[in-house]
């Protein structure tokens, strides 16, 4: 089995995907600690966190000048930097890498901004597919309520305010994130993501994650 062969040669690549406010970051944090407690070498890499590229993205986002292509390309640059200098070296050494957002985020978000899926897939064609991806499915209205419990307002791009979907940030957020969710649903089906109902209690979601990861670890060592 291809996956088993690859797993013996390298660490496992596990990703979580979903809308902002879907709870995926909390879940991957819990999974990380669970795997570390088992004595496994595990590393977490967060979307949009390259020390070289992230400060530039923050500045560009604040300027609100990015075109959809520009937005896609600067995020791909951040990903490429992390993939080649943070993720891949660890996988090659047998470290398991947990990614808080992976290529599915680009396919869903940039697709929702109207860019062709084939082009986005080619843009990220240098990256190996994750061994296991969880998609945390949540209605955009629930995601919005969770975000607004933690901070006073949506960010410009998260609400899709660059796309003229409505002047009211809440309305724009729900419209844009509904588009993102529709893209996610199609990608999840096409790529075999494990879909998690992100409205379930946190503990139930974590149980599902651990079971799926344990199965994958078993296959990898078997």
């Amino acid at each position: 089995m291809a996956r088993r062969r690859r797993a013996r040669e390298s660490g496992l690549l596990i990703a979580v995907e979903g809308l902002d406010g879907s709870g995926k970051s909390t879940q991957i944090g819990l999974l990380l600690r669970h795997l570390q407690r088992q004595g496994l070498a595990v590393h977490r890499s967060n979307w949009n966190s390259s020390p070289a590229v992230h400060p530039l993205i923050r500045e560009l986002k604040a300027g609100r000048q990015l075109s959809p292509h520009g937005f896609a390309l600067v995020h791909a640059a951040d990903f490429a930097d992390r993939y080649e200098r943070e993720i891949l070296p660890r996988l090659r050494l047998g470290v398991h890498v947990l990614c808080d957002r992976y290529t599915g985020t680009a396919l869903a978000r940039d697709g929702a901004r109207g860019l062709p899926r084939e082009w986005i897939a080619e843009l990220y064609g240098f990256a190996r597919p994750a061994d296991l991806t969880f998609y945390f499915r949540v209605p955009p209205e629930v995601a919005a309520a969770r975000i607004l419990r933690g901070r006073p307002a949506f960010s410009h791009y998260e609400a899709g305010l660059d796309l003229d979907l409505g002047a009211d940030p809440y309305e724009s957020f729900v419209r844009f994130q509904s588009r993102v969710a529709a893209h996610y649903a199609a990608i999840a089906e096409g790529h075999g993501y494990v879909v998690i109902d992100a409205t379930l209690p946190m503990r139930s979601q974590q149980r599902m994650l651990r079971q799926a990861v344990q199965r994958l670890l078993g296959e990898a060592s078997g």
Binding site: E59, G70, D81, E84, E122, G125
Partner: protein, 220 residues
Amino acid sequence: MSGTGRLIVVEGADGVGRTSVVHRLRTALAQDGHPVSSVRLRGSRGMRVPLRDLQRRADISERALFLLYAADLADIWHQEIAPSLASGGVVLCDRYTLTPVVRAEARGIDATWAAGVLAFLPPPDLTLVLEADARLRLLRMLERRRFLTPRESGLGATFRRDPQAMLIRYQHQLDALFHRRVDGQAIKALDASADRDRVAAAALALVRQALQGIGGGEGS
């Protein structure tokens, strides 16, 4: 081509004299009566300074740097080139898609992938690839500044051992990669070894040829 205008690109390796050619073309085409503007790679509002700084850092992957140049081009396209072309102008571009693709290939990135990433940008009406021997280009670079920079030498540990040899070797490689793309039709080579006035005059003749049939005086 996009809209009713024309996109003319001047390409070529470091120190070949692109900027000077673009400047002279702009002046001459304006005198011909063309509505002309010029843009340059690493010229978008948000990216110019950060890209210059990132290029000097060693702790960024080559692929990430390529993608940032692609983002810069995307924004130059949306903010400047597309609107000018749509209003019927001639846009002179100091480097466009060839430079990032050639640089990426020279640094070990798959050129087909790189070209695919930039495929959303429309092809120019004419691309002039300026060519001159790497030693002459090095001499020109050193007339303008005091020190060699690591990127132009191909970066890497060997730079410190013999930067000059590294630079010549890397620039030869860039020359070959540029030249391979010249087709004599939409992408033409231009010997840039002569003095600037002569190179600009030869460039102008080729551009006027490409602009035949659209507005302007002498060039039409």
